[in-house]
């Protein structure tokens, strides 16, 4: 299991990266390589050239900018996991990062790489969709940003145009005082690709009424999806279990679930509803300061 031959380039700047990508349709970006390298080893992917962006300073780091936390594409998952801004401002991301792969893959894998590979079961794309993140791309043509909704098109398929490089993801920070998050996933083994995962973030006012809600489901279909209808329905409620169940059931019918060896489409649909409810319930409880 050795990759087909390729050239390796480690450009010094984003500009050079874009030029390299523009010059060769079969060039591919590599950052942490935790998703790409297995595909190379199995020869499922056979680029002519790998453009290594892992060490580009422009793509590394986490900062606050306006109402968002901006994470450079080449920031390693392990670094994000331990970062104070993530812990303080992006509780949902902080909650899911320990579920991404294993500790050793998080030591190499990057936040941007997980988004760019768009595995339907991956946790970081789910958080991006759930929170309505903005994904920033750069190519020779310039900088372009798109919402996570537009970005994820299909199974491992994204809207990244040829020649572009994902540079950062901007995850909105909720400013409400009482924000809670919940996340659940189920897989055969804890670190496997999730059969289904669900993430939720809610904000409550002092009376415990929901003022903001975001619910996302991953792994069930060909890409992560957000339950906007359910989220809207829950705003203004006290997020009782009944409220949550009714709201989730509104959206669950639209979920297109897939079937594979490990989990049937029926299973995914059923469990997506259960996990979504649990995630919202946990989010409510954590916003209320109850342990979840």
């Amino acid at each position: 299991m050795k990759p087909a031959p390729f050239e390796y380039v480690r450009p010094d700047s984003l500009e050079e990266t874009c030029a390299l990508l523009a010059a060769d349709d079969d060039a591919r970006i590599i950052a942490g390589g935790q998703t790409l390298v297995p595909m190379l080893a199995m020869r499922l992917a056979r680029p002519t050239r790998l453009v290594d962006i892992l060490r580009l300073r422009e793509l590394n780091g986490i900062r606050e900018d306006g109402g968002a936390i901006v994470i450079g594409a080449a920031t390693r998952q392990a670094d994000a996991e331990g970062h104070s801004l993530v812990a303080a401002r992006l509780p949902l991301l902080a909650k899911v990062l320990p579920w991404v792969g294993h500790p050793p893959t998080r030591n190499r894998g990057t936040v941007g790489g997980s988004i760019a590979h768009a595995d339907p079961s991956a946790e970081i794309p789910l958080v991006s969709v759930t929170l309505g993140a903005e994904i920033v791309l750069r190519s020779e043509a310039g900088v372009e940003a798109m919402s996570a909704d537009e970005f994820f098109i299909g199974p491992m398929v994204t809207a990244i145009p040829m020649g572009a490089c994902l540079t950062e993801v901007r995850l909105p920070v909720w400013t409400a005082k009482r924000v809670g998050v919940g996340f659940h996933e189920i897989s055969a083994r804890r670190s496997d690709f999730a059969f289904v995962s669900a993430a939720a973030q809610v904000a409550l006012d002092t009376a415990g009424t929901c003022t903001q809600c975001a619910i996302g489901v991953g792994g069930a279909g060909d890409r992560p999806v957000r339950f906007d209808g359910a989220s809207a329905a829950l705003v203004g409620t006290k997020l009782s279990n009944k409220d949550i169940e009714d709201a989730v059931n509104m959206d669950i019918g639209q979920l297109e679930t897939m079937s594979d060896l490990h989990a049937s489409a029926d299973y995914r649909r059923r469990v997506a509803a259960v996990l979504a409810c649990r995630a919202v319930g946990d989010a409510r409880d954590s916003a209320l300061g109850l342990s979840s």
Partner: protein
């Protein structure tokens, strides 16, 4: 791995125009994802060369396409088989075209396919959704044939 496909698409073209397009190697080359070249090898039979790419995954294929049971401009059967570095596959689909209002046509299809080799062995988890995605890409491209404005949307990968 066995795949079953079926669906229907509304295409902004009259029945005859759509029929002609589906029988035009130039159009098919543009619409079949990754198709590099179609060479006619006999009546309604073509050799195809493809460079398929879905996200980071990609590989070259060689295969054959044949159109049979033609009932112009309504029905035909299309069979595809090929193999390449990622594995091999074959399939057969039945197409039916019916006229809609305002010069549109409804293209209905149903068929089955099989995929084997490397991708079946290591990619079972997403193979069926990838296949659906590729079929979707074919119809997107086909629709774009008749809606030039939509072509500005840009390439996907």
């Amino acid at each position: 791995m066995k795949l079953e496909i079926s669906g229907s698409e509304v295409i902004a073209a009259p029945v005859e125009v759509l029929w002609a397009s589906l029988n035009d190697p130039a159009v098919l080359t543009r619409c079949i994802p990754g198709c590099k070249r179609m060479t006619e090898t006999g009546p309604d039979a073509y050799m195809v060369e493809m460079q398929l790419r879905v996200a980071a995954v990609g590989g070259s294929f060689e295969g054959e396409i044949a159109l049979t049971d033609k009932e112009p401009p309504r029905r035909c059967r299309i069979s595809v088989s090929g193999s390449g570095s990622l594995g091999h596959g074959n399939g057969e689909a039945h197409f039916e075209i019916s006229a809609q209002d305002d010069g549109h046509s409804l293209l209905s299809y149903s068929g089955t396919g099989e995929i084997g080799g490397l991708v079946a062995g290591v990619g079972q988890r997403i193979l069926s959704s990838v296949s659906k995605h590729l079929i979707g890409r074919f119809f997107t491209a086909l629709r774009q044939q008749f809606e030039p404005a939509a072509q500005a949307a840009g390439a996907q990968r």
